[in-house]
């Protein structure tokens, strides 16, 4: 698996994502600067990392969408390539219309930084390492994580089984339907507010996030051998 992690100005979880893929999973990972117009040849997965791209100017994720690399990311996604947006990366995917809806300030009006429980709601290429119904523990760290979409959009996400992760018991931001992560209809683009890359090794005593990366690796390796 070859993973390209995009660095926008203000990204701050890009190195963490590279670390997990390279040192925990043993796969190939490299950083890609936002002004690059092409993804590295052979990219299997693009990660849009957490952080504060463009200082969250105007709205979180609003300006990153216009970065040169995003044209290549959109084309990659349109061809069926896997894209994982974490936290600010999720916000970028929403602003870029690769996923439906928008993010609002947390209902508590506070930055939340804590480990939360998530229920795995659907088996997708990003979640196949878990069983549907599993509860996993992964940290969140955000101020604008209240997922919002019109009721008919939320209903469509539910009907189509596109809610992949849902806050279980403790919704840290007031998101609609307790949504923590969703996929596109083709199931090759996932956005999630919690940080699986911060819960992927024993040293952190949090390993539940590794399943997200393992799932994608299995999907990619399966396609390569098919």
């Amino acid at each position: 698996m070859r993973v390209s992690v995009v660095t926008f100005p203000g990204s701050n979880c890009d190195e963490d994502a590279v670390h997990v893929v390279r040192n925990v999973l043993g796969a190939h990972a490299e950083l890609v600067w936002h002004e690059t117009s092409e993804l590295p040849a052979g990219t299997d997965l693009v990660v849009l990392p957490g952080g504060f791209s463009y200082g969250d100017a105007l709205r979180s994720g609003a300006l990153a969408r216009f970065s040169r690399i995003m044209g290549a990311v959109k084309a990659f996604a349109d061809r069926g390539g896997y894209v994982l947006g974490i936290c600010n990366g999720f916000q970028v995917l929403l602003e870029a219309n690769l996923l439906p809806g928008a993010m609002l300030e947390n209902a508590s009006h506070k930055f939340v930084c804590r480990v939360v429980s998530l229920r795995v709601e659907a088996s997708t290429p990003f979640s196949s390492a878990y069983a549907v119904g599993d509860t996993i523990r992964i940290p969140v760290a955000h101020h604008e994580g209240r997922y919002f979409a019109p009721p008919d959009t939320v209903a469509a996400l539910e009907r189509e089984g596109r809610v992949v992760f849902r806050y279980a018991g403790d919704n840290p931001n007031g998101s609609a339907a307790d949504i923590a992560g969703i996929v596109n209809p083709e199931r090759n683009v996932l956005g999630m507010m919690p940080h699986p890359e911060r819960a992927a090794e024993d040293a952190l005593r949090l390993t539940d996030g590794l399943g997200v990366f393992r799932s994608i690796q299995a999907a990619i390796d399966g396609e390569a051998s098919a």
């Binding site: 105007l58 709205r59 609003a62 602003e95 809806g101 928008a102 609002l104 300030e105 947390n106 209902a107 508590s108 009006h109 209240r146 919002f148 979409a149 019109p150 007031g174």
Partner: protein, 78 residues
């Protein structure tokens, strides 16, 4: 020429920052305040042109970037 684009949260979208300001105003003694909603004003400098032409450009800017129409409304003023 100069224009203003006012971006506001859509009706029904919770505005916790606005609520915090309203609470503070009440605490200051402004007991007549029932609610506050916070928006943004973007002051835009443009080439001179008729207002209706400028309005078309600004409305396109609003839809494409200045507002996220899933959660926000916007108005153009001169």
């Amino acid at each position: 020429m100069h224009a203003k684009v006012l971006v506001t949260l859509r009706q029904g979208v919770l505005d916790p920052a606005g609520q915090a300001v309203a609470t503070s105003l009440n605490q200051l003694g402004f007991s007549q305040v029932k609610g506050v909603r916070i928006g943004k004003v973007l002051e835009v400098e443009l080439d001179d042109m008729p207002e209706d032409e400028a309005r078309k450009h600004l409305e396109e800017m609003g839809r494409q970037l200045l507002a996220n129409t899933v959660i926000e409304d916007f108005e153009v003023e001169f």
